[in-house]
């Protein structure tokens, strides 16, 4: 298929293992390497030709129009240039890749290190730049998920309308050497609804963890966009999401994820039934709760009130939260961890700065893009002028300068290509900003878990206190009656029983709260470390690129400056 020395070597091997289905789906990946005819083409040149081909690269993370603008078909520079000396992207790259400069050395941060990627470095590096710097440090454990091959399927049951509901499924392929998984390679078909289920179950099981947020449902967009575009967008988003999940040290080994990735057929995770049915269930329970003594069962305490069916509990906690906010009295247990509160403030600041940095990064990318485009247009204008002068020149003096004009124009076109390539790299590097901004959502959720667990504890404590005082009142009243009061005694026993259950629930709730606190702490540490690594690598990569490309551009123009220096000498 391709030259053996090609950096796509690893990619080839992987290809042999792929199922036939995947072969079809991976067709898009092949193209970037076809154009690289140079056997020892270094990473950069193959990447360069990949990026300058006019294929819509499906793995591009930036869904903004900047990305599509880079790779659009209508780029005038990609159509065969009118001048015979200008070759197509691949072969003309070779003429100025040498001499090896700082640039070439620095360009290899993405290849070699990461053994997780079986695909070519160029493609995988676009996908999760964040994973690179980190996964290479994990001890030879890898997991690689690909989402591909969307297919339309029919809803078989319960279709009122004949021809029924259609939906899309996606092929999810995993390659891994983690022993907890059944095999080293396997695939399964899932629909978006399954992903929502997975996400919900993970949220329940991993309270306090920074769980990457799942892709949005995008109901509006799904109806307004073109089907194909929407499906492609969703496919990309799913892949990104699953990859992020698989990078999380706890979640990658979770049962939920394992089941999701491996079990064929229907996803055997409990689905999140919709709110209506929950409310219905809760409404059914409510009368019984109000009539009798009821309290929340200990086992239910580990989940927040909000998503559950226990309406009474929901009301109680709501009341508690209002008491917390409005009454003057201090709740019985408060968030005392000063360190945590500081951290929370910091996270808030970080989020703001990330947001503004992310915006500026997009502006910068656009400005670089524009620079490249206009430089190219200038070059083209002069190429046309050169052609014109060649054909129609009336005087000898013109013909002499035509060559210089041509060199100038060619240089401008080259410089333009460099700017565009620089930009592609820049986009990849700065994507770390966008990525971490997205993670802030996960942080919010985790902090919310903590808050709701605390609320549960507070509510139970309040409840216990009120039960206690009722019990005391009952005792006092009944002790006045000589011989005992049968009804009162019975009530007292019931109350004591309720108190016991509530006490148990309280203990469970406290344990849960502490557990979540610990999860928060661990995750914050982990996130800080990862962010630190990612940002450092982002900065290095960004700066290295700027240096490398500036050198190349300087070379190109330096030559033209020399060639045209004769004009200036004449003026002396």
């Amino acid at each position: 298929m391709m030259g053996a020395e090609n950096k796509g070597h690893d990619y080839e091997e992987a290809h042999l293992f792929a199922s036939k289905e995947e072969m079809e789906s991976l067709v898009l990946h092949e193209h970037p390497f076809n154009s690289n005819s140079n056997g020892n083409g270094n990473f950069f040149s193959s990447y360069g030709s990949a990026m300058s081909s006019s294929l819509p690269d499906s793995h591009h993370p930036l869904s903004s129009s900047v990305a599509t603008a880079i790779l659009t078909d209508s780029d005038p520079l990609l159509s065969p240039p009118p001048y015979p000396e200008l070759h197509g992207p691949s072969s003309h790259d070779n003429s100025y890749i040498e001499p090896p400069s700082y640039a070439d050395v620095i360009f290899s941060p993405f290849h070699g290190e990461d053994i997780n990627s079986l695909e070519s470095p160029s493609l995988s590096s676009i996908n999760s730049p964040m994973s690179f710097s980190r996964t290479s440090s994990s001890n030879s454990e890898y997991i690689r998920i690909t989402v591909s091959n969307p297919q339309k399927e029919q809803e078989t049951s319960n279709s009122i309308v004949p021809g029924g509901n259609t939906y899309f499924t996606y092929l999810i392929t995993t390659r891994t050497n983690i022993p907890e998984f059944v095999a080293t390679e396997f695939s399964v078909r899932r629909r978006f609804r399954d992903v929502v289920t997975l996400s919900d179950r993970l949220a329940e099981s991993y309270r306090g963890f920074f769980i990457p947020p799942r892709p949005d449902k995008n109901v509006m967009e799904s109806q307004m966009m073109q089907k194909q575009e929407f499906v492609e967008q969703r496919r990309l988003a799913l892949e990104k999401y699953l990859r992020r999940l698989s990078e999380h040290p706890m979640i990658k080994k979770s049962d939920e994820l394992k089941v999701f990735l491996q079990v064929q057929g229907k996803l055997p995770l409990p689905t999140s039934t919709d709110v209506a049915s929950r409310m219905l269930d809760g409404a059914v329970k409510l009368p019984k709760q109000l009539l009798g003594e009821s309290t929340v069962a200990p086992h239910e305490v580990v989940q927040p009130a909000k998503g559950g069916r226990d309406l009474l509990r929901l009301f109680k906690e709501l009341k508690q939260s209002m008491v917390n906010d409005w009454s003057g009295s201090r709740p019985l247990v408060v968030e005392e961890d000063k360190e945590f509160l500081e951290k929370k403030e910091k996270m808030h600041d970080l989020e703001q700065q990330l947001s503004s940095s992310s915006q500026q990064a997009e502006s910068l990318v656009k400005a670089q893009q524009d620079m490249g485009e206009t430089m190219g247009e200038l070059g083209l204008a002069f190429i046309k002028l050169t052609k014109f002068e060649n054909e129609e020149a009336v005087f000898n003096s013109q013909r002499a300068r035509v060559l210089d004009m041509k060199n100038f124009a060619t240089a401008a076109v080259k410089a333009s290509r460099f700017y565009r390539e620089l930009n592609l790299h820049t986009v990849k590097h700065l994507d770390a900003l966008h990525g971490h901004l997205g993670l802030m959502l996960a942080v919010h959720s985790a902090f919310t878990d903590r808050t709701s667990a605390l609320l549960t504890v507070q509510t139970l404590l309040t409840e216990l206190a009120s039960l206690q005082s009722r019990s005391e009142k009952l005792e006092a009243a009944s002790s006045k009656v000589f011989g005992g009061d049968k009804t009162r005694i019975r009530k007292m026993e019931e109350l004591k029983e309720t108190m016991r259950v509530t006490e148990d629930a309280k203990n469970v709730a406290i344990r849960e709260y502490e557990r979540i606190k610990e999860n928060n702490r661990i995750e914050l540490e982990r996130l800080d470390k990862e962010r630190h690594t990612d940002f450092l690598s982002m900065l290095k990569g960004f700066v290295a690129n700027q240096v490398g490309y500036a050198e190349k551009i300087a070379n190109v123009w330096g030559r033209v400056a020399e060639e045209t220096s004769g004009y200036v000498k004449e003026s002396i």
Partner: protein
């Protein structure tokens, strides 16, 4: 500011060498732009200094105050009187209102006017023009009267422009064969005309893109600066070494941004302006082409009329009519006029041929220099940028 050529241009072979004091010299310069007047009627006035030892002039040095419309007057007079010559182009009249009084625009215009005047003063024919002497020496009151008189004929400079354009379009109609050909059928001249017209289009496009490129440099500079600031703030959220790294990135971004802004300015002055100058020059050649076509048509019309008169005269001579003498006088007058027209036309043709060679050589050099300056500027910019980032990279590596 005694230079005789625009800063981006080089002396062509036809220029006279530097003149020692005994040699005749004429040095002109346009300096000191000052805003005068209020509101809509505000305008810029310039100081024009002439230093000369030519005896046609009133003295060794003269300073006068002139405004843009005075230069237009001079340009138009030269155009009228020196048919066949390529009159150096003026900077464009129309400027977007809000930019009219920016420092940049004022300086660019001053420079362009200085270049224009110098080109006139160093042109072997034009420098002898009486109108030039008038322009360089009379006081403002007189100048204003002259200008008003001229304007009186044409009502407004805008209308003058319109007439120019009409002539141009009439010429293109004639040249492009839309109107009935009272046309010189000369293959070489046709080729030249076609070349000139096409050239203008290509140059205009190149100039458009180069102006945009200047803007892109500025935009990139600005966004890099904003990005740097955001990075600095982000760094303040992070810990020690990383925070420092962000802060250094921010600082470097600012450095690079400033460098980009500088280069934008250089690009404007050393590349975009020369290109624009070239475009204007080509446009002025087009005007000359129009004039030549006019001269040709005049000559042809006269010749036709003359022929008719000749036939008439012969008829009258044969019939021995009384009207014969009248007719004879008329005929002789016409004959003279025709010979004049022919001579004028022939002069134009000769001149044009000489001028165009000179023009092409000059422009080849000018554009060559422009290319060199562009390439030099870009190379220097890129090297500066590489150096700036490289120093940061070393620091980052140790993080």
């Amino acid at each position: 500011m005694d230079h005789q050529q625009p800063p981006w241009s080089v002396s062509g072979s036809s220029q006279s060498p530097r003149s020692p004091s005994s040699q005749p010299y004429l040095h002109v310069s346009v300096i000191d732009p000052v805003k005068l007047g209020n509101g809509v009627q505000a305008y810029i006035s310039y100081r024009v200094i002439t230093k000369t030892n030519l005896h046609e002039y009133q003295g060794p040095e003269k300073i006068v105050i002139r405004r843009y419309s005075d230069f237009v007057w001079l340009h138009d007079r030269l155009f009228e009187k020196y048919k066949g010559f390529f009159i150096p182009p003026l900077p464009e009249k129309n400027a977007v209102e809000k930019f009219r009084f920016t420092a940049e625009f004022i300086e660019m215009r001053r420079l362009a006017l200085d270049i224009f005047l110098n080109r006139v003063a160093s042109h072997h024919e034009l420098q002898q023009s009486e109108d030039l002497r008038t322009f360089l020496q009379v006081d403002e009151a007189v100048m204003e009267r002259l200008r008003a008189h001229e304007n009186g004929l044409f009502k407004k400079p805008a209308e003058l422009m319109q007439i120019f354009k009409d002539v141009q379009s009439k010429v293109s109609n004639v040249v492009l064969g839309k109107e009935k050909p009272v046309e010189e059928s000369n293959a070489e001249y046709e080729k030249l005309k076609h070349y000139i017209f096409e050239l203008e289009n290509h140059l205009a496009e190149a100039q458009k893109h180069s102006y945009r490129l200047v803007k892109r440099h500025r935009e990139l500079g600005k966004s890099l600066s904003d990005f740097g600031k955001a990075m600095k703030l982000l760094g303040s959220c992070e810990g020690d070494s990383l925070g420092k790294a962000f802060s250094e990135l921010g600082a470097k971004s600012e450095v690079v941004s400033v460098r980009l802004q500088k280069e934008a300015q250089q690009l404007l002055m050393n590349f975009e302006e020369p290109l624009k100058d070239y475009v204007l020059a080509v446009q002025s050649i087009k005007a000359t082409i129009a004039e030549r076509a006019n001269a040709f048509r005049q000559h042809c019309e006269l010749a036709e009329t003359m022929k008719l008169k000749e036939i008439n005269l012969d008829k009258l001579t044969l019939t021995r009519s009384d009207k014969m003498r009248e007719a004879e006088t008329e005929y002789n007058q016409l004959k003279q006029a025709n010979e004049e027209a022919k001579r004028r036309y022939d002069d134009m043709v000769r001149l044009m041929n000489e001028e165009i060679v000179r023009f092409q050589e000059q422009k080849t050099l000018d554009i060559g220099v422009a290319f060199h300056n562009f390439a030099n500027g870009q190379a220097r910019l890129a090297n500066n940028i590489a150096d700036a980032w490289r120093s940061l990279l070393h620091k980052l590596e140790s993080c």
